[in-house]
Amino acid sequence: MASSLTPKPVAPPTPSGAAISVRNLRVKYGEREILHGIDFEVPAGETMVILGGSGSGKSTLLRTLVGLEQPSSGEIWIQGKDFASISEDERDELRKKMGMSFQGGALFGSMTVGENVALPLHEHTHLDDSTIEIMVRLKLDQVGLSGFENYMPAQLSGGMKKRAAIARALAMDPEILFFDEPSAGLDPIIAAGIDELILKLKKAFRITIVVVTHELASAFLIADRMIVLDKGVIVANATTEELRKSKHPRVRQFLDRVPEPELTGEIDYLQMLTGDVPPARQ
């Protein structure tokens, strides 16, 4: 296993040369299509932020990227492998090179912080206990949680939980890190600390990072490139500077914080979320 202190080599690219390449991705929940043909690429070592309002499909996109949802069609190439069509064993091998930080942390409540971080190391490596203990300390130190090994997740604040979750995501020295709403629900100071941590990880380890968020300040700070999702389609895929200058009405509405017109009923709301036109109105 590579040392956590040395910069990692850039991940083997997909056939297109990117660490992650998504092609014509469609995802359905039952009969309702949530993502309507998504295409984008994340170059190795870069940070891609997926922006979008509530219900735009950004969390579904992230869950599909890490294999928690099955696409109804399309391809997800990660490190040269089509994630959606490889065998379960190959997928598990790929997952060991990926880390995911969930919105609420998703730390195992019955384990201490140290046990949470140590879990993937115990399960996927043959390292002895003392080496794992040292690695756990290193990971917690990287996220500013030195000395919290024996705390239970319930004893931590929201920001500390997110940091502990990031430490766990870093445990296997991943080449790709996924963040779901890393600063949601945190006060601005703690949120800024998480942003700084993401920047530090990117700089120190050259990790490819994908962040789903709707926090604009955070997004513009950490992103190399951003995509804006609206009703399950990408309406913008640009660098931060290009996005600031975008004239796309939905992008402008999102960036300028213009509220939606009032919705009159359930069908309107569903239509807003998915972009589907209800049969009765076709």
């Binding site: 928690l68 995911m100 969930f102 609420g104 998703a106 993937p120 399960e123």
Partner: protein, 265 residues
């Protein structure tokens, strides 16, 4: 929906549910008995921890309930036996009823209340908190990691608890026998041993094993099918208890019938 369609849909749902239970049990059995020989880790310490919780910690309540059930059985049997002047048969009535039926069944009810519901609540809470998703993203198989230790603990501990419940039930019956039926403790135990056959005990233990399987599968299945929101955890827990009791009784009926046909006393 027409009545016949409703019956059809309910039947399909029921079979699908049973299929899900079989799949979950199969996955857990593979994780316990096959995967370790294919180089995959199985942490025995987790199974031991579960066994302590499922078995050892259930001993006091199982003992108490079984003892009382034994006494109640003896009291009820004595009503009829006294009419025929056969009060001395109370020991065999209690022994056979406890080992073949009430020992396994009462143990199962205690285990459902203590452990089946706990499995559903634990896994359901993990599902709501995205811990199951986190497990999958870390390439950890939830069935291997969560269900397999419970599966092993239950198939070992439910039969053990049942043996203990049988013994406590006999003691409970003995209390009545010694107090009112003219037995000494020694003669009561001897009458019990004379009445029991190996088949009685084995049949009871086979039932206990099957009950353990059913309770594990239902508790874990209900946990995994928990919806979004903390109130769903409560629903899953309730559902686990109700479905487990129903399925345990069904399994009891099936196995009692099989034993009746294949190995009459």
């Amino acid at each position: 929906m027409p009545f016949t369609d409703s019956i059809g849909a309910a039947t399909i749902n029921g079979l699908a549910y049973l299929g899900g239970l079989a799949r979950l049990s199969g996955g857990a059995a593979r994780a316990v008995f096959v995967a370790p020989f294919q180089g995959k880790k199985f942490h025995l310490s987790r199974a031991v921890h579960q066994a302590m919780s499922v078995g050892v910690e259930a001993l006091p309540i199982t003992s108490l309930i079984s003892f009382f059930i034994g006494t109640i059985l003896a009291l009820n049997a004595a009503y009829e036996l006294r009419k025929f002047g056969a009060l001395h048969l109370v020991a065999s009535a209690v022994a056979v009823s406890m080992t073949r039926e009430l020992g396994p069944l009462m143990t199962a009810v205690v285990v459902i209340g203590r452990s089946g519901s706990a499995f559903a609540a634990e896994i359901g809470t993990m599902k709501v908190n995205e811990e199951i998703d986190a497990m999958e993203t870390m390439a950890l198989e939830p069935v291997h990691f969560l269900v397999a230790p419970k599966f092993l603990a239950m198939i070992l501990m439910v039969p053990c608890l049942t043996c203990w419940a049988d013994f406590m039930g006999v003691l409970g019956g003995g209390l009545f026998g010694v107090a009112t039926a003219g037995f000494t403790w020694g003669s009561y135990i001897q009458a019990t041993l004379d009445a029991l056959t190996k088949t009685d005990i084995i049949n009871g233990l086979i039932k206990a094993l099957m009950f353990g399987l059913v309770i594990t599968a239902v508790g874990c299945q209900e946990g995994f099918s928990t919806g979004l929101g903390s109130e769903q955890v409560g629903r899953s827990t309730t559902s686990a208890v109700v479905k487990s009791i129903f399925l345990v009784v069904m399994v009891d009926l099936i196995f009692t019938t099989i034993f009746y046909i294949t190995a009459p006393r």
